[in-house]
């Protein structure tokens, strides 16, 4: 080939590396320029096996369906039947997950309480303690007992309806928290007993117990302080669900809350959110197996969270053996988080609706993840509560629709046999056969 040919002959088109993608390279440059890792809110953004990889079979000749809207399909449940004198009764198997006052505004917490109460379910405090707003507006309020113990006190412990000992979170199993100085208003600072404007670190381990034997004694203490009235939940991140469930039950938990890796967080390193923990889908069966091996499935209730979006996700989690699900991110979106109506303001911050996750900076135009009164003033807690309750009711109806189609008179009667899997991975994780086969990876084929 001579020089003249070179200019006219076809050339290899520029190909960008899938490994070093634009986003990856931009992050390398950002780290190089600032020396700070990326902190953000929300859950994993990458694709991992999820409920979408399962389908319901529906009814046919071998199973007959229930008449929609005519034949009842119950959604109610009771939590904390094992030891507590006052178990929790909920109308729907969808609860609001713990989200801290500090991360969220007081009005957003109030809206969560209003919405949950209207829909007949519970809401949960978070790192930073219990606020008056949420207690007043929540019929059933779960009080988190966290490593930081910010705002922890025996009076709130006694006026809650259940206690949730937080061992871990799906977004960051093994990690603590950080509330950056920008969000530390006077009220947040006072509740946490720290100076205003400094970064508040939340420890990753409890200060006064380690391991299952200590946890058992800690639970005894909490029960003794609260007259054995309150159900004790133990919340774990999706790390080793079989063993963690077993140990939490051994330590005396009434309810296990299991949060998979897609679960949201207020603020954590991006790398932690995306690379630590097991997908929600992979966590459910091992936890259910642990409960079955202990002979306590349904006696100790299992709440699943991490990426729950609609009634089908709810129904699938229940079919795999959960008693209820919990939502964080979806509840925030129902309240108005990341709503396109704030697009101009998102753009000003260099982001767009649906991608806004710098919640730790406290600039949320929707007034949800901020303590700035100018912004929180935009948020109407009554309307927010109404929107949340609508959304919760829709989810419950959707789960009922599926359950009826599978011939179930209670959503809890959904079972793995109602499902098939679309991928080998989902099949292996859930022990549900691949669609069109009776094959589960690693299992002998049954006829």
């Amino acid at each position: 080939m001579n020089d003249r040919d070179k200019s006219t002959s076809p050339r290899t088109v520029p190909i960008k590396s899938s490994n070093f993608s634009d986003a990856t390279n931009a992050e390398i440059r950002r780290a190089a320029a600032t020396g700070i890792y990326d902190i953000r809110g929300g859950g994993a953004k990458r694709v991992v096996p999820h409920f979408d990889d399962l389908l319901f079979l529906g009814a046919s000749i071998s199973r007959y369906p229930l008449e929609g809207y005519r034949e009842t399909c119950e959604t109610n449940l009771t939590l904390g039947t094992r030891f507590a004198k006052k178990p929790i009764h909920l109308d729907i198997p969808i609860t609001i997950a713990g989200m801290s006052f500090g991360a969220l505004s007081g009005v957003a917490k109030e809206a969560l309480g209003r919405g949950a109460t209207e829909a007949g379910t519970s809401t949960t405090t978070g790192d930073g303690g219990m606020t008056e707003e949420e207690r007043r507006h929540s019929r059933t309020l779960i009080y988190q007992y966290l490593p930081s113990r910010y705002g922890m006190n025996p009076d709130d412990l006694r006026r809650c309806d259940a206690i949730e000992v937080v061992v871990g979170q799906g977004a960051k199993p093994g990690g603590g928290g950080m509330l950056l100085g920008q969000k530390i208003s006077d009220r947040v600072a006072e509740m946490r007993n720290l100076p205003k404007g400094i970064d508040q670190r939340s420890a990753c381990r409890h200060p006064d117990w380690t391991g299952p034997d200590d946890l058992e004694i800690k639970i005894l203490e909490l029960r003794e302080i609260t007259d054995w009235e309150k159900p004790i939940y133990v919340k774990i991140g999706g790390a080793r669900p079989y063993f963690d469930t077993t140990l939490a039950v051994k330590a005396g938990a009434d309810v296990i809350v299991l949060d998979g890796m897609q679960g949201g967080t207020a603020a954590t390193q991006n790398i932690f959110i995306e690379h630590v923990g097991q997908p929600t889908l992979a966590c459910i069966r091992p936890a259910v197996q642990a409960l079955e091996d202990l002979g306590l499935h349904r006696e100790v209730q299992l709440i699943i969270s991490g990426g729950i979006r609609h009634g089908a996700d709810v129904a699938k989690a229940l079919a795999l053996g959960a008693d209820a699900v919990s939502i964080g991110t979806a509840a925030m979106i129902a309240l108005g988080d990341n709503d396109p109506r704030w697009e101009a303001e998102y753009n000003e911050m260099g982001t767009t609706a649906g991608a806004y996750d710098d919640w730790h900076e406290g600039m949320d135009p929707a007034g949800i993840t901020t303590q700035n009164p100018k912004l929180t003033g935009r948020f109407d807690p009554v309307l927010g509560g109404r929107r949340l309750s609508n959304y919760l009711k829709v989810m419950a109806l959707e789960a009922q629709t599926i359950a009826r189609a599978c011939g179930k008179s209670h959503v809890h009667n959904l079972e793995p046999e109602d499902l098939c899997a679309l991928t080998v991975e989902a099949s292996a994780m859930t022990q549900v056969p691949i669609a069109g086969t009776n094959w589960i990876p690693g299992k002998k084929t049954i006829k």
Binding site: L157, R192, A203, P207
Partner: protein
């Protein structure tokens, strides 16, 4: 005075009786016998009562205490006075790990030694230890005062916030962001009062004050290795 024997009556009965608010007015005095290292003894109290434990207690003795005065005539296990709100707890013997963890108020006095992580995440409690304390004590301590008449183990005051630390003896090593600080008259006054309240027979001038260098308060990449 009411004597309560844990050998013949249950922990549940004990705590239920102690937690009943009727004692608010009559300043009742309770004596608990045969604790035998039992856990969660006298937890969640909320009245101006006096409780004396004859013997040693296990985990979380006096946990979340409010108002009550508890005296343990023996030693205690981990987490004595954890998250205490107010009142006073005096341990005549030694204390295990996490003494006074996350305490919000009131006073904890250990006449003997305390183990590791004494005063961890303390949030306003005053702790006076007559003997020595172990490693990682006052880790992430937020506020309140920790007074040690004896010596202190490794990594003292690591990741400290605004708690004040006073030590009479030696400190084996300081944790990240904890430094020696000047003892000013207001500190001497606070310390002298605490020593008197804790029945410690020494002078505030014999102590050294430690506190936070406040370098970890806002994230800075040059301190990354310290986080």
């Amino acid at each position: 005075m009411r004597i309560f024997d844990l050998e013949t009556e249950s922990l549940r009965t004990l705590n239920k009786m102690l937690q009943a608010k009727v004692h608010d007015t009559n300043q009742a005095h309770w004596q608990i016998e045969n604790p035998k290292g039992g856990h969660a003894i006298a937890v969640g109290l909320d009245a101006f009562i006096e409780v004396t434990v004859i013997g040693s207690a296990g985990y979380y003795c006096g946990g979340m205490n409010k108002k009550a005065t508890i005296n343990v005539q023996g030693s205690v296990g981990p987490g004595v006075a954890e998250n205490m709100m107010s009142g006073k707890i005096v341990v005549e013997g030694d204390a295990s790990q996490y003494a006074g963890a996350t305490g919000n108020g009131g006073m904890l006095v250990i006449k003997g030694n305390a183990s590791s992580r004494c005063g961890i995440s303390m949030k306003g409690i005053d702790i006076v230890v007559h003997g020595n304390i172990g490693h990682m004590s006052a880790f992430m301590a937020q506020s309140g005062n920790l007074v040690v008449l004896g010596n202190v183990g490794d990594a003292f005051g690591d990741s400290l916030y605004e708690a004040r630390l006073f030590v009479r003896g030696e400190v084996k090593s300081l944790g990240t962001d904890c430094i020696k600080k000047e003892m000013r008259p207001e500190h001497l006054a606070i310390l002298q009062r605490l020593l008197e309240e804790a029945g410690a027979n020494c002078r505030a001038e014999e102590f050294t004050r430690y506190g936070s260098a406040r370098k970890l308060y806002n994230f800075n990449v040059d301190n990354a290795s310290a986080y």
